[in-house]
């Protein structure tokens, strides 16, 4: 039985983004707030997000959290989030923004 090893890599080169589709799990709240059309869809179906993104316990995590996150934490129901996702699909997927 041999021990596995985890060797270091040689050097850092920025990874290349793979194609993706805009959805409630593929964009952070911070990112969505910079896309007016997308943020309008969020607030149309779930106005509570306007308040949620200002909460002190949430603000540090806006780059980490998605619309979908709040379903997991029980603050938003799954139905409006599904509608947001559906409407997102009709928007053009934004270019890679480092997220």
């Amino acid at each position: 039985m041999k021990a596995p090893t985890y060797p270091p890599a040689k050097k850092f080169l920025p990874p290349i983004a793979a194609p993706y589709v805009l959805g409630v799990e593929t964009a952070s709240l911070a990112e969505l707030q910079t896309i007016p059309d997308a943020w309008a869809i969020v607030l149309k179906h779930a106005p509570v997000y306007k308040m949620l993104v200002t909460m002190p316990v949430v603000k540090p995590y806006l780059t980490n959290m998605t619309v979908d996150s709040f379903v997991n934490y029980g603050a938003v129901k799954a139905e409006p989030v599904a509608k947001i996702n559906e409407e997102f699909r009709r928007l053009a997927t934004p270019k890679w923004g480092g997220q």
Partner: protein
């Protein structure tokens, strides 16, 4: 002192108990004490620090008169001491160490930081060319250190150990004064951090500059074949002069030498070591070895260390799961914080060891010390008791979670702090992964992705034998592809989500619903629950047990902690629908642990006993909600339920009885009469619930598997409180100032049955060689101070913690309450 004597000192210390008293046997604890250091490593500097919880000018000056300051021995946490100006004013309540107006609010558990100063006198009896270093195991936070008025430096990290070379400014004759300023200012943490020098302090006196590097010995298991282990032993030496030799000796737990070698010393010495009939380390068999390393000039020993290690191979694979020494195993894990309940953050060795013992008793085999470097004492306890560890470095990188947190220092310090974490911890066999961060904001941004790579890669450079992980919440980032030069081994050209792409093992925070989907998308990804809700334990473990790619789970949390107040627990509401917001003042602890602040089992722990097979049947009764309300359980909470049938005032009302069992059928009998019968299917997740008309007496529950009875529990209604049981967890304790003893206190009726739900004021009196350092309960709220000799019971229980005064003898404890008294004795010595 000769080297032979100092060697004996090393052996004492390697026995697992730091004998501060013996190292300086003449030192008292009530007066400022000067330490006389001699040649040798790890000489305790814990005793006799002058301390003030204030700021001032000239405190660092050696001639400053600190006669009005208090004398404390470290570990010391001023944050858990009673605040001045205790007040019942509704808007500005001050209760013990808790203040309603504390700027850290719920995050800090309403405790107060501030600035404090420590001063310590010491002398050194050693040759003039001796090197003298001071080593702090942990100071929270932003410490600055002066020797004889000369500033040596500052260190922001509140959890990592750090050292200073005192040599250039040392007085070889007479007294030296070490001054330490500690600033715990602003909102700098998401939990209770403690304040001050809360871990040990050591002095290393080297015979000459040539010495073994700090944490300079590593031993890694490379292979195990037919009982013979091949180890990679590496020793790093610094400031070497010519003509020295390095002697390395490996001894087993009985002290038998199993391997030794002496070679010419060089900056880096490597050896392939073969140990036949190796006694392997695992959670079930935590066998340990020690490598004794000596740097010699001829026959003279210049420096000497003992490094404890274990021989084991841990593998991870999505298709075959996790193994230890070839045997499959799952991580039965819990996240823990560094505080020790009523002691605050003070890291007494026994408190650290007890925490691990308690969790081991409850079936845990893994802890994730969240979210920072833990004490060496805790890691040593994990080695000794067989507890896996995910050692975690950071809670924040560049983007802060709190205005004054570590993000302010990350760029200038991460490399040093991460290096320290790995080098100081790598000899611990308990550590199986390095975590580079928890829920790091910005980790999916371009700069965050690069930071993730740099941290992970540094860990791999320092320790290629352990995988890198991180705890990832919510947004995992979008798929990306790394080049051959950048990717993890075997991952070049493959799409992976940004948060995971440089992690060898993926930590999922609260993602029970994502495991199966993600496994389908990324079948080679090895996953574990780095945090989970207690409420999901049965569903989690049903999935873990059938999924090789899912190697375990860490509940948030295994033991309760101060701060993040009101995260768990439950609340009562008149509406049947809604969302239970976190508790605020007077909540001071998180109230989400399997064990409470005192280490006592909470309801979720009893349920987990069933989930993990420690028990086949547990019966809990929900505290009847106030009339017209229902219980709302917080996300990290659990119903307020207890293993008791004592509910005065509930006569005639229905109460909720919850039965947790591995059986498929249960019967309930109340006072001998069958009242309910229920079947359980797999979908019930080992839980059945019954509404029962409460009447005092005896509730009996029997569990069956098919026709076979597998468990029986009886809950009885207790009568009025008749006595207070005072039960030391151990009758003997050591007699150094690092030795503490826990005493369990319980209200009982005349038949010795625990009386639940009674809140009674208690007073503690101690005589003999011990003092009170903790007296309180597992209550979630600010009730009283922890060091003033009085408290109130919570659910009929309390806890007393005694600290040795440093003298040997019998300590007597008397607990007085309303009409009850109890006593016990503990032998310190």
């Amino acid at each position: 002192m000769t080297l032979m004597k100092s060697r004996r000192k090393f052996l004492w210390m390697s026995s697992g108990t730091v004998l501060a008293g013996q190292l300086a046997p003449s030192l008292g604890w009530t007066a400022p004490t000067a330490t006389d250091a001699q040649l040798g490593r790890s000489q305790s500097m814990d005793l006799g620090w002058s301390f003030t919880r204030s700021e001032g000018v000239g405190f660092e000056h050696p001639d400053f008169n600190d006669g009005a300051w208090r004398i404390v021995d470290v570990p010391h946490d001023w944050g858990i001491e009673d605040l001045p100006g205790q007040s019942t004013n509704a808007k500005a309540e001050v209760i013990g160490p808790f203040s309603r107006q504390a700027i850290g609010g719920t995050a800090h558990g309403y405790t107060v930081g501030g600035t404090g100063w420590y001063r310590k006198r010491f002398s050194v009896s050693a040759p003039n060319n001796a090197r003298v270093h001071v080593r702090f195991d942990g100071v929270y936070m932003n410490s600055e250190v002066w020797l004889n008025g000369v500033r040596l430096g500052e260190f922001p990290n509140g959890y990592a150990p750090f050292t200073y070379d005192l040599t250039p400014h040392l007085r070889r004759q007479g007294a030296n004064v070490l001054a330490v300023k500690v600033r715990n200012e602003g909102v700098n943490s998401r939990w209770y951090s403690g304040s001050g020098i809360y871990r040990h302090v050591w002095l290393d006196v080297f015979a000459e500059p040539s010495r073994i590097a700090p944490w300079g010995v590593s031993v890694d298991t490379q292979s195990i074949e037919q009982g013979t282990a091949t180890l990679a032993l590496q020793t790093n030496l610094v400031e070497l002069r010519k003509g020295l030799t390095l002697a390395s000796t490996i001894v087993d737990a009985r002290g038998t030498t199993v391997w030794q070698r002496t070679v010419p010393a060089s900056a880096e010495v490597r050896a392939n070591v073969r140990v036949s009939s190796a006694a392997l380390w695992s959670p079930d068999t935590p066998n340990l070895y020690t490598v004794v390393t000596e740097l010699r000039a001829g026959k003279k020993v210049l420096d000497r260390t003992e490094t404890i290690f274990g021989i084991r191979i841990v593998t991870f694979d999505a298709a075959t799961g996790m193994t230890i020494n070839g045997s499959a195993i799952k991580l039965k894990g819990g996240c823990i914080h560094h505080d020790n309940g009523l002691l605050g953050a003070a890291a007494f060795d026994e408190a650290e060891d007890r925490k691990i013992r308690l969790l081991k008793q409850r079936g845990y085999n893994a802890v994730r010390p969240s979210h920072n470097q833990f004490s060496d004492a805790l890691l040593t306890a994990c080695d000794r008791h067989g507890m896996f560890v995910i050692s975690e470095a950071f809670d924040a990188w560049r983007l802060p979670k709190q205005p004054a947190d570590y993000a302010n220092y990350f760029d200038g310090h991460w490399k040093n702090d991460l290096t320290t974490l790995v080098l100081s911890g790598r000899h611990h066999p308990s550590i199986i992964m390095w975590s580079i961060g928890n829920e790091i904001p910005g980790r999916n941004l371009s700069a965050g992705i690069e930071a993730q790579w740099r941290l992970a890669n540094l860990v791999h450079e320092l320790d290629p034998y352990r995988p890198v992980t991180a705890a990832i919440n919510d947004f995992v980032g979008r798929p990306m592809i790394a080049s051959e030069q950048t990717a993890r081994a075997g991952q070049a050209g493959r799409a992976d989500e940004a948060s995971f792409m440089f992690l060898d093992i993926a930590g999922y925070n609260y993602k029970l619903s994502k495991y199966e989907r993600d496994h389908a998308l990324y079948p080679s990804r090895i996953m574990y629950g780095s945090e989970s809700f207690a409420k999901d334990m049965f569903a989690n473990w049903a999935l873990i047990e059938k999924s090789s790619y899912l190697i375990g789970d860490f509940v948030w949390t295994a033991m309760d902690y101060l701060g993040e107040a009101g995260l768990g627990g439950s609340a009562y509401t008149k509406s049947a629908f809604g969302f239970a917001m976190p508790g605020t003042w007077p909540w001071v602890n998180a109230s989400c642990g399997d064990l409470d602040l005192t280490g006592a089992q909470r309801a979720q722990s009893r349920a987990r006993d069933v989930a993990w097979g420690l028990s086949k049947l547990e019966v809990l009764v929900q505290t009847p909600p106030p009339e017209g309300t229902s219980e709302m359980i917080r996300l990290w909470g659990w119903s307020d339920e207890h293993p008791t049938w004592t509910w005065p005032g509930a006569e005639g009302r229905q109460v909720v009885v919850r039965v947790y069992t591995r059986g498929d059928r249960v019967e309930l009998r109340l006072n001998g009469r069958a009242i309910a019968d229920g079947k359980l299917s797999a979908g019930d997740m080992m839980r059945a619930e019954f509404q029962v008309d409460y009447q005092p007496g005896q509730l009996e529950v029997v569990a069956f598997s098919g026709a076979k009875e597998i468990g029986r529990k009886v809950l009885e209604t207790a009568e009025a409180v008749a006595t207070v049981a005072v039960v030391p967890e151990r009758k003997r304790a050591g007699a150094s100032r690092n030795d503490i003893a826990y005493v369990a206190i319980e209200l009982q009726d005349a038949r010795g049955r625990h009386v639940h739900g009674v809140t009674q004021s208690l007073h503690a009196k101690v005589s003999g060689p011990a003092e009170i350092v903790g007296f309180g309960s597992g209550a979630w709220s600010a009730v009283d101070g922890f060091q003033d000799g009085q408290t109130k019971t919570f659910n009929g229980r309390a806890q007393l913690i005694l600290r040795s005064t440093g003298s040997r003898g019998l300590a007597s404890v008397t607990i007085n309450g309303e009409g009850v008294t109890g006593s016990a004795e503990i032998n310190f010595g």
